[in-house]
Point group: C2
Chain length 383, copies 2
């Protein structure tokens, strides 16, 4: 583990669960872990900027086994899944995935998983960091719904970056390359059962491989690394630089139970016109009419390179604290400090000038800008 | 932070929340943090054995701000709190606390908080590591109950050890010493609003101070350290050695959603004869009659000192894997390796000989013994 990080201190005794790739990530030099869904999550193998360049110019491998799968199955699985999320799942076919939010009665965001429809009556939620199993169990029990709910022993890897297609081609059959965005397929590799999805948390071309047999974690990792060798595939953490450039939010930082989808730019997921009810529909219908008082905006922060931060730096307008920075980072591609701020709606229009109080640095001028910071349809500027 | 632990790697960017005592724990030399309820939890300032001796011979201070409080208030607060737990809260008076379990419909354990009754219609749950707020919100919404549910900005400290009474006497009014076990009182210290409870996770004499104004974390910490100076009060993590000696379980390791109270020795909390319904009552009534198939037992593990472990070492009987060690540790007081094992009921009687497979060490003989390992009514043997 090197001298800077003694894992034994973070996980004294080992209460925290390990993904099936834990041993591999140790051998491949993971330098830092965080904790996510009660599991150890390797988030750093090299410095942030080095990992960013590997992602945007090459291809990277991430252990995201912490994306726990909650399975919803049984006769009322569709009805229940549709009740959990404001998105209308009617047109979600078997083999398709959807990025969804799970909302509370007041419209607050409980989680933002990727949903897979595995069968007419079987769905998986690949979860961000909150105990959605408890939320779902409480609802299903009281509603007396005919569903089974379980956390599965399934662990995804992400393979992200412009060269990911090459890696997947070397690893699996040629046909996987035809997989459309947000579709998935069941497959296997030397007897290792897998689900392959065209999804990811990078805004780059990318795939996720869900490992269905947790005893084969090291086997799968090594096969992926082997297939990736000609492409210089590098194990890294997820890139916060790249996900912010791409306008992707991090649950727990940029959106929480206190925020509704309209506030954080996910209003497009709230399909109020659908016939079915969903948790939060009444509250979100009201908010849709009334509008929101606060909004998450993109900001550029002037001055020298800032360290990555999600500790809620205060944001001021005309000398008064009016909001918080939810994520801030230096983009070496854009050569700018970029991030998100939660601010009153009246301070959210493009071009608004704000002031950010950066601890130990001082006041920094910030401007509200369009997000995503890079246009996913265009060649990304790497200034 | 010293050279062995670079906190920036664990909490890259700072998505994980900090307790109000975070800065103080840094200044006082916290060497290791884990993550608990999405917050950083300082669990080590010195080595485990040194911290153990400070606890059992003196007095220690723990930042347990991660024990998040979920508040249940409103006209149906009592009814709802009673629905969440198998314990009958009818005789829980205002000013009293209860150690409770929160159970799922199948009797599985969702959490094991300390419940405080602050008013006829106001309860707090000081939680172990799971999102009980989501569980409770789902139930309350569908049942249409008149309750308000919120996670509060309240953070406890624990002051544990035989000299804790002296520290509390120096810190607060003399009268607090009359506080009976599992009672609490509201008080303040130089304008810092507090709740003081006679509770703790050590089996030693101890108190918890709930900080009600999170802006005063450093102030409170320094006042406690000052009052503790004549008693050599030491900041430490909670002692897994001492809690295992005392028969205390760690949620997420020794009990999980997969286990019911009868399996883990908490059957005394399941009050089936009460009139009120509670979540899990039907399942637990059935289990009470049928008995359990698996049980958590105390074990002594022979041989040299073992490192603290909760990674589920395999347990065998007659050459066949039949269970798992949920916690194992060396007790310097008892001069023995002790722990818990989840085993089939037929292997749970006192004196049963088992075999434990310790990675990188080999097979170790283990014997089922009574727990707690030390009798709380007697002077603890310190061999």
């Amino acid at each position: 583990m090197g001298s800077v990080f003694d894992l034994s201190l973070v996980q004294r005794g080992g209460r925290l669960r390990r993904t099936p790739f834990f041993e591999a990530t140790q051998r491949y030099g993971a330098r830092g872990y965080t904790v996510y869904n009660h599991m150890l999550f390797p988030i750093q193998f090299d410095d942030l900027e080095a990992e960013y360049w590997k992602l945007v110019q090459g291809v990277t491998l991430w252990d995201v086994g912490v994306e726990r799968q909650v399975e919803i199955s049984g006769p009322q699985a569709f009805e229940f899944a549709n009740l959990l999320t404001p998105r209308d799942l009617t047109d979600c076919q078997v083999g398709q995935a959807r990025y969804v939010v799970i909302t509370a009665p007041d419209g607050g965001i409980i989680n933002d998983p990727v949903l897979l429809r595995l069968a007419q009556d079987r769905f998986w939620l690949a979860l961000a960091d909150s105990d959605v199993l408890l939320w779902a169990k409480g609802l299903a029990h009281v509603l007396g719904m005919q569903v089974e709910l379980a956390e599965l022993d399934v662990a995804p890897l992400q393979i992200q970056g412009p060269k990911s297609k090459g890696v997947m081609q070397a690893l699996l059959a040629e046909t996987v390359l035809d997989l459309p965005y947000y579709h998935f397929t069941q497959t296997e590799l030397d007897g290792i059962p897998l689900i392959l999805t065209r999804t990811g948390w990078s805004g780059e071309v990318g795939y996720e491989i869900y490992l269905l047999d947790s005893s084969r974690g090291t086997d799968l990792w090594e096969r992926v690394m082997e297939a990736g060798r000609p492409f210089d595939l590098a194990p890294t953490g997820p890139s916060d630089i790249r996900r912010i450039e791409a306008g992707i939010l991090n649950y727990g930082a940029d959106m929480t139970l206190e925020d509704n989808p309209y506030q954080v730019g996910l209003g497009w997921m709230v399909e109020l016109e659908q016939q079915a009810d969903f948790i939060g529909k009444a509250a979100l219908s009201r908010i849709a009419v009334e509008g929101v008082r606060r909004k998450l905006v993109g900001v550029e922060i002037e001055g020298e390179r800032l360290e990555f931060n999600m500790t809620k730096w205060p944001v001021s307008a005309e000398g008064k604290v009016i909001g918080r920075i939810t994520s801030a980072i230096y983009s070496p591609g854009l050569r700018k400090n970029i991030g998100y701020a939660m601010v009153p709606t009246e301070c959210s229009s493009l071009g608004t000038v704000l002031s950010v109080e950066v601890p130990e640095v001082g006041e920094r001028r910030a401007t509200v800008v369009r997000k995503p910071f890079v246009d996913p349809e265009k060649e990304i500027p790497r200034a």
